[in-house]
Chain length 396, copies 2
């Protein structure tokens, strides 16, 4: 394959993560080592920035500032949720041509991978020589081809830390506590709540994943059983739980959709409040509360997984290296089958990660339908890393 | 004053904090040094544990385990919200007498201080020789006599860290983000959101405190103005905001009260969702979201203020020392007027901290009614300590 000389555009898209700027800095630092890459532009707010010629010169950033930015959560270049039309693509190539851009780097999830796929196909179709790469990120951990995704480990650490504290809070004051966790169709992040269990009897006692059809009647029964057994109950529930027909439980109340046709699940306490109302109506449990963790899960400062930091940086580096051997693709994280935790990076076709997502494997979901398996915990632990230590009085 | 020999009961009450067990361990470690204190009981779930004779022997705990517990959020002995009646007091003294308890240590907020006050008054009235001490804790920072309270600094650090991340998240995706923060009548914790501002234009752009009557019309106007100026808006709002008649904005929807007559404000996303609905109805802003931080603010593991940790431990130590010179009281934290941050501990009468709370001083509230003052930031900084560093691209 011939390496072409030209300029580069980097952009970020979709929901931010705590380590998405590690990938940005990884791309940038590696790109600076390659002589076929001249100018390095940052496009503000994803492809919207290309359409508006809203670029910044990323070579102006000092290494010191870049290291600060790498440690800063949420897309430093801004983000967008936007699927390009054929017309958009035409305009994009016009602008890229004007700036002699031959390298397009897009950091995002499955929707963003679809954007890169569309742009790559269109570029080939109109004969614009563009090398398009997708760099994975999503707290949902639902990208195909990947063992896990950058951003997930840190979000999972936040969720586990939150549940550890919430289990202690619930132990102190009793009753039922419901925690609503992000994850539209994939239960990985909700499942991470299980890491909060340290001592026997610790919550979360029930974990509801979007992969398992949710029955409100069964939920009320499950909670009552836990309360009868433990005198209290902590529930971790995915924002994306849906009934047996696939209709999101919260969709009965809300109607907002984004440009990819997704229903708004985050940024509202509605689901938690619905579930609380259900328990208050159907049981005699005195104290029932719900918290919706919301955007804290993807943006809280000061809570990252060490492996996540390293891997988010490296996918950026690998994506630049890939431009020497391929014209397009997405960097995927694979786990090496070994006793110690070890991963490797592989370049995969864009279409393999675009659009469709992956769900939790059956072996990760407990048979009772409201928990994860030990196998999932084993999978998850090195991704999340160490959690703070908590203690308990021996006399209790 | 005569020092009497006898056993001790320690208990925890009210909402947990991230450092409440530092105070427990402070009391315990100091008590072990005093020969007039024999057995040291932990009463489970506050005074409910006394009424049910539900005690644990705290001398059985190893120093190593106690240090782990000190670092663990949420009341290790369990908690309760319960105001004792005259009858309860009679029963309490009967049980304390049976176990020869002469020292009663209660860690809690203003409601808990009221409990200690009632028990102390009743003990004198019936002639039961009991030394009763209150040890301050509350994330609300609303105890009278105190410059600030143990638990507040760590909760404020959580809120500031959350808002730092949320400001970055909002900068990336735009629109309006509303964060609902704990604090029934006092705005200290909501005001701590202001520490999240690092760069010009950073949110929170609007801060609504319970001390300032809340007008929904003005709120809509304020948000629109910020969006017009910055293209986005981050709002920090207290769960306790009330209209000009003092009626909580959320109370129109909810009716649950606790045994102290307080309306339930936490553990529901209702207020955030009401404010979102208001903005969606009255403005054309496309993306409006709300998160309610909920119990994470008081229980998240791995987020403490260093000064808070030290002070929460020390109030426990001081309370035990106070038993040598007084028959009852509460330990208050005073700030020494000096260039460097310095505090001292003072024993104050129980009635001075019981029941009524303090609010934010007028000098801490901005004249526009939707922000805090530089004086408040100056007051707050040493209480919260260092926050994680964040960066920003120079080209933006």
């Amino acid at each position: 394959m011939e390496t072409i000389r030209g300029n580069m555009v980097i952009a970020q898209s979709g929901g931010p993560t705590m380590v998405i700027n590690q990938s940005l800095v990884g791309i940038l630092q590696e790109a600076k080592k390659h002589h076929h890459i001249d100018k390095i532009f940052g496009s503000l707010h994803g492809i919207k920035g290309i359409l508006e010629e809203n670029f910044v010169d990323l070579r102006l950033e000092s290494d010191e500032n870049l290291e600060k930015i790498a440690k800063t959560p949420s897309s430093a270049l801004g983000s967008v949720r936007m699927k390009p039309t054929k017309d958009d693509c035409g305009k994009i190539f016009e602008i890229l041509k004007k700036h002699d851009v031959r390298y397009f780097y897009y950091i995002g999830g499955n929707d963003s991978a679809e954007t890169v796929y569309i742009i790559n196909e269109e570029a080939q179709s109109v004969g614009y020589d563009l090398r398009s790469f997708h760099i994975p990120k999503t707290i949902d951990n639902d990208l195909r081809e990947n063992d896990h995704t950058p951003g997930f480990g840190s979000a999972a650490k936040f969720v586990a830390s939150a549940l550890m504290g919430d289990n202690l809070d619930n132990r102190a004051l009793g009753g039922v506590k419901i925690d609503v966790i992000m994850g539209r169709h994939a239960g990985f992040l909700t499942g991470a709540a299980a890491l909060a269990r340290v001592f026997p009897g610790d919550g979360p006692h029930l974990i509801y994943l979007p992969e398992v059809p949710f029955s409100t009647e069964q939920f009320v029964k499950d909670v009552q059983e836990v309360v009868d057994a433990h005198g209290r109950c902590v529930v971790a529930v995915s924002e994306g739980i849906a009934d047996e027909n696939g209709k999101p439980i919260v969709a009965k109340l809300l109607n907002e959709t984004d440009s990819h046709g997704n229903v708004q699940l985050s940024g509202t306490g509605a689901l938690g409040d619905i579930l609380v109302a259900e328990l208050k109506e159907k049981t005699d449990i005195a104290r029932v509360r719900a918290d919706t963790f919301g955007y804290l899960q993807r943006s809280f400062v000061g809570c990252v997984s060490e492996n996540d930091v390293i891997e988010a940086r490296q996918v950026g580096v690998e994506a630049v290296k890939a431009s020497l051997i391929a014209e397009s693709g997405s960097i995927a994280i694979r786990r090496v089958d070994s006793d110690e935790y070890k991963i490797e990076y592989e370049l995969v076709p864009l279409k393999n990660v675009a659009k469709d997502t992956k769900h939790m494997a059956a072996e990760f979901i407990a048979e009772n339908g409201h928990d994860v398996t030990p196998k999932f915990i084993e999978y998850l632990k090195p991704i999340v890393g160490d959690l703070p230590e908590v203690g308990k009085l021996v006399g209790i």
